[in-house]
Symmetry: C2
Subunit: 497 residues, 2 copies
């Protein structure tokens, strides 16, 4: 059945099995693979690579769009195939290897990997390993459920291996908008003027002579692990809806707001779902992923258009998308992440950026990545691309973690991914802190009072007030700034015994 | 003599003395003033404001382009006129007031203030107080030695006070390129395609009915306090020239490099001066300020074009510019800082961004602003605008400060302005660390070996090696991470007794 999807006949003889394709990947190579948050990664070739490594150990640098599904990262890490990994991951097994130092993880802004490749700032790709849904008569590649960095890898690679996924409906053709910025110094503006701007082509055009192998798979993406909205995420959404409603009342935006971006994960997904019951109309989204919440908003009519680099949905939602493609055509576009996350477009469109914080400090600095300042969780992802260039940068987190043993608001974050210059609004289930126009010293009272759990408030105010005696633009007591984290490590709780 | 500079005759009757103009500024107002690194600030009206405050105390929020010359910030701070100041300053007296908490300082990316004003994210401007060199027949305002945020303030303000500076040659008309981005959601690309792109008008068009007063001054800008290049800045320049030369050899750029940005201050100025003896040709600059070094490069023919938001030069260089305007016409443009520092343009042009670090840590995080983590030096300025969106982000610093009592490379910076994601190259007089593509754990050995002064190297390697035992993506010992800073505060030196 796969033959009709390869419309350029001369490529039919490139079809091989996964083992044969995996054999093309040599020790020390840089592999650029499709895949963005469990959507559209190559599936059978990576497994064949792991299998091969059992007898014939080899290591590669693996670049992707973002994280991968189907435990591909776990599988490759367990088999020792990964020497170096960039720009994002979210796998527990790989995370462990990264934190143990056995896999080198280069945690990058998601817009930048393609940029660095184009500029020759990092080692070029030897092999692009890309999942597709079909090949046009002219050799144009129809991508699958993500675009991510696939177009950049295909352009950079010496060799191309394709995984043709016959489980993806052919009707996905037309949901991709492939556009790559020219190389400096001959660059032109990226012509995206709105979320719905279609600026590129539906397929990726490559030098077909670089295609060394095509492997057929018939396997859907593994589902996003999204938790249902709960009382706390509902409260966060409520505060944010109130805030935007107030911005509308003050004439700073219309009732359609500005294009929304919501980070990957349960909290951001739940927050967006909260917009279902909002007074806003004709919303648009210019984001990196389309999560379940975006489909609910599209279905309700609240959201008119969603632009992203990939899907990131549950099994039910993937099924719903695949069986109702025509309903969504013209209302969803998948773009390369160098476009979805491009600071040029983000600033131009006036994006409202909503991202999740691991923890925030009393001055509004955000740690998005490092547990207790040292151990990698997932990576910075696109949060830096969006927060820095956005119209309003919102960070959300529940006020407590680990049954209250961890406060998500701390005196000083031990790792800074977003600093006070880039954080406009901080929200927990308890409330919202509007930091716009506030000097650092004005922030702790607002953050502590509005966002922090009462069980930590006195301790935080005490720290801040004692810090003030030392003066400064951002008062701190350096010998004590990490005392909560040190106590957590020593006793299992940030609360004193 | 001033009358011939006011070509729109109906404005001639708006000329008043400084005291009368100062009286228009009321307690609690937001004043948007011209001025960017000692260039083009209003001069006589601020002094009249201070004088008035002696008898009639009042406080304002003062917004500017960046820092101010002629001790205006000191004078206003001493007279208690400043309640709030943004987005940058570099004055010792004001700095003291900020660190004591008596002036609230909102330290912002320089590209963002105009953006926040346009979007209504911060309180709008009551009075724009802008230095000009003349008024056209059609009411168009010819700005003086900086553009900065002047166009944004003029657009936002309810009332306008102008200072007409007759010490500025009238020939400065034509050196400004005034262009303002439209308001979202109707924005279009900013059409800058190269440093030399002229996209706007030579004057600022305002509603002339908003002009309440014109005050004449005849006073040149105070000189930039630039130290001459020394052996260490020469060595930093040498490492950087070698690095770029190597990039050229590897085919990543031509011998004209990409447009250069160099931060404000002595080190960046000296580094740029080092390019005089480089093998590069036909360089261009797309920066925030044009310092003396840029003039040397223009005069030598090494630099073909310099775009910036302001001048920032010594008295001799200002004289040279004023007396040789025709030599520089068509080779220098002053732009609004929302354009000079715009992430869209910075990424498009592929800027090579060179900024000064106060200190860096062994993982490549940069503190640009906070002495010992708490006390404000100047502000982040444009370093964040440029580093994040640049092609290559370089940070430079001398390896030691205070006769060796301070190491500019530390285990962990106690304030993060630029994190590891945004720092490609770190340079001290001792050498250069190329951090591109390195995972955090790979960075300390390179930074310590290449950039750190030998008197601190063993201590830093010892810290890093002991940190490794705790594992993690970015190993640290939180209880010890700031021990160097704490020792400095307690004993006056980071070195153990």
């Amino acid at each position: 059945m796969y033959r009709k999807r390869i419309k350029l006949e001369k490529l039919l003889n490139k079809v091989v099995d996964a083992d044969a394709a995996a054999a093309l990947i040599k020790d020390g190579m840089v592999v650029g693979m499709s895949g963005f948050t469990k959507a559209g990664e190559a599936k059978v070739v990576p497994r064949a690579m792991s299998k091969r490594a059992e007898k014939d150990p080899f290591k590669i640098t693996l670049m992707t769009g973002a994280s991968l599904g189907n435990s591909i990262d776990a599988n490759l890490a367990e088999h020792g195939v990964l020497a170096r990994r960039m720009p994002f991951q979210a796998d527990p097994v790989l995370r462990k290897a990264i934190n143990a130092g056995s896999v080198k993880f280069v945690d990058q802004h998601l817009s930048e990997l393609a940029e660095h490749l184009s500029a020759g700032q990092i080692t070029p790709v030897d092999v692009a390993l890309i999942e597709i849904a079909g090949i046009d008569e002219d050799g144009g590649l129809v991508l699958s459920t993500s675009v991510g960095n696939s177009a950049a890898f295909l352009a950079s690679a010496k060799h191309i291996i394709l995984e043709l996924n016959t489980a993806i409906p052919e009707g996905i053709r037309g949901f991709h908008d492939i556009y790559r910025p020219k190389l400096a110094p001959n660059r032109e503006p990226i012509p995206v003027l709105a979320s719905a701007s279609q600026i590129g082509t539906p397929t990726v055009h490559v030098d077909v002579d670089k295609i060394d192998a095509i492997v057929v798979n018939h396997e859907i993406d593994s589902p996003a692990s999204i938790f249902d909205p709960d009382a706390e995420t509902g409260a966060i959404a409520g505060h944010l809806v109130d805030f935007f409603h107030n911005e509308v009342k003050h004439g700073r935006m219309t009732n359609s707001l500005f294009p929304l971006q919501a980070g990957i994960g349960s909290v951001a997904n739940a927050v967006l779902q909260g917009f279902l019951n909002s007074p806003f109309e004709n919303l648009t989204m210019y984001s990196e992923v389309i999560q379940d919440s975006a489909f609910y908003l599209l279905d309700s009519g609240k959201l008119t258009f969603a632009s992203a680099a990939a899907l990131s949905v549950t099994a039910e939602m993937l099924e719903r998308f695949f069986t109702n493609l025509e309903t969504y055509r013209g209302r969803i576009l998948f773009r390369p992440q160098e476009i979805s996350n491009n600071p040029e477009v983000i600033r131009r469109l006036g994006i409202l950026a909503i991202n999740t914080a691991l923890e925030a400090d009393i001055y509004g600095n955000i740690n998005s990545t490092h547990v207790n300042g040292t151990h990698m969780m997932n990576g910075i992802g696109g949060s830096g691309d969006f927060a820095r260039a956005s119209r309003i940068a919102v960070f959300v987190t529940k006020s407590l973690a680990k049954d209250g043993k961890i406060s998500s608001i701390v005196p000083m974050v031990p790792h800074v991914d977003h600093n006070e210059h880039d954080v406009d609004i901080l929200v927990t289930e308890l409330g919202l802190a509007d930091l716009r126009g506030l000097a650092p010293r004005e922030r702790p009272p607002v953050i502590i009072r509005n966002c922090m759990h009462p069980s930590y408030q006195d301790m935080a105010m005490d720290y801040f007030e004692r810090s003030l005696k030392g003066n400064g633009q951002t008062p701190h007591i350096l010998g004590e700034a990490f005392s909560w984290h040190i106590r957590l490590k020593e006793t299992g709780s940030m609360l004193p015994k």
